[in-house]
């Protein structure tokens, strides 16, 4: 396929470009996820521990989940202007709701959406390639996409690994048995995603 060779050419010919932008995309995503975690963890722990305010937290999460990212960026443009802070806030809004249920889904979607930084006026991420097809061609778009997909899967794997490390041994065995049951009964991500609205 011609397109595949173009994508390979892009990756071979501009390594410093896509490596830098991919690095920035990771930093931006990690920062947004970090802020989102810092905001939602205390809320989650408090509501879970005090058994109070969970309705408010879940409704708030549902409202935040519904916000279209480009629309949030647009409204933020009028409030904070263009640049890093804009895309950062938009990604935090995107990251918070799924964190209350599953960090992996959240991580993957934030990484895939971070390219919109170019729309918010910061060309630091791979969005610079994706939103500028005239400059880098479709091969560049495919190459940048491949990089983002690899980062997303690696990050999801990392989060899953961290979760396993952070789980105490006894709980891990119990959870393994449960996961096996769940994976027999359905995909593991499914009940997590369903959780906010069903509860």
């Amino acid at each position: 396929m011609n397109l595949l060779t173009h994508a390979a050419d892009f990756l071979v010919n501009h390594p410093e470009l896509w490596l830098t932008k991919a690095g920035n995309q990771v930093v931006l995503s990690a920062a947004a996820l970090g802020v989102a975690l810092a905001v939602s963890l205390p809320v989650g722990v408090a509501t879970g521990h005090l058994h109070r305010g969970s309705f408010l937290a879940i409704s708030g999460g549902n409202v935040a989940r519904a916000l279209p990212t480009l629309a949030v960026i647009a409204v933020l443009l009028t409030l904070v202007g263009i640049g890093f802070l804009n895309i950062m806030l938009a990604l935090v809004v995107l990251a918070i709701p799924p964190i209350l249920t599953g960090v992996e889904t959240s991580t993957v979607f934030v990484i895939a959406t971070a390219y919109l930084s170019s729309v918010a006026g910061s060309n630091a991420t791979l969005g610079a390639v994706i939103t500028d097809q005239a400059e880098f061609g479709l091969g560049g778009v495919l190459g940048a996409t491949a990089v983002i997909v690899v980062i997303a899967f690696a990050a999801a794997g990392l989060v899953a690994g961290l979760r396993r490390l952070a789980t105490p041994k006894g709980l891990r065995i119990a959870r393994q048995e449960r996961t096996q049951m769940v994976s027999l009964a359905g995909s593991r991500t499914a009940p997590q995603e369903a959780a906010p609205a069903t509860s």
């Binding site: 397109l3 549902n62 409202v63 989940r65 519904a66 916000l67 279209p68 990212t69 480009l70 629309a71 949030v72 960026i73 647009a74 409204v75 443009l77 009028t78 993957v108 979607f109 990484i111 895939a112 959406t113 390219y115 729309v119 791979l126 969005g127 994706i130 939103t131 097809q133 479709l138 778009v141 495919l142 940048a144 996409t145 983002i148 997909v149 997303a152 899967f153 009964a185 359905g186 995909s187 991500t189 499914a190 009940p191 995603e193 369903a194 959780a195 906010p196 609205a197 069903t198």
Partner: protein, 245 residues
Amino acid sequence: MTALAARVGASGAPVIPIIHARSRCVTNPSSLFCPSWVADNWTGVLEPKLLQHIEMTVTAVAIGFVLAFAAALAAQRVSWFDRLFTGFSTLLYTIPSLALFELLVPLTGLTLLTIEIGLVGYTLLALFANILAGLRETPPEVVGAARGMGMTETQILLRVRMPVAVPTIMAGLRIATVITISLATIAAYITPDGLGQPILDGISTGFNTELIAAGGLAILLALFADALLVGLQRLLTPWRRARVD
């Protein structure tokens, strides 16, 4: 020019979207929000874009639902199909939306078809996972009892599994709908349809009123659609309400 365009817009005549009226607001473009522009451009710009946005979303979610439902039924019978389809839809989920649209353009052109294929792709993960989880929620002994009562497999699906699955399926439908409304704004990079068009126009011109009006409309649409689906779920599962009360 702009004054003329504003008058045309106000009289309700069609206005060419990209160079539509900025009316009095253009004299002070740094002002945060100018209600008169919204009034002048409601019928010419905002309303048609909103309707296009709704149409795009409903089409994508409906097609995605049919595909995901068929896939979930298949996954119930063939065990490896679950992993295959989950892997496929997760892969789609990691692809940046604009990149997916751009990569589809050589195949399907700068058309709404391109947009719909992409949007349907992003609905699949949430819909498939939740439909399958919902269908599997019915305990095996309940299915056994239904079979013992002489129900056929189709009757068990429609009368036992489906009602039990409604809340989980609706949760997936809500996620898929708000994701689609969000990603449909990106579609404006490919075709000048939906609320993304005035948003991108506002970004390129730095016109705050248009950004707030179009962005705000997209946000309100997502919240309204989500609330509508919650209401629908309540209507479909009256027994759950009775139990909570």
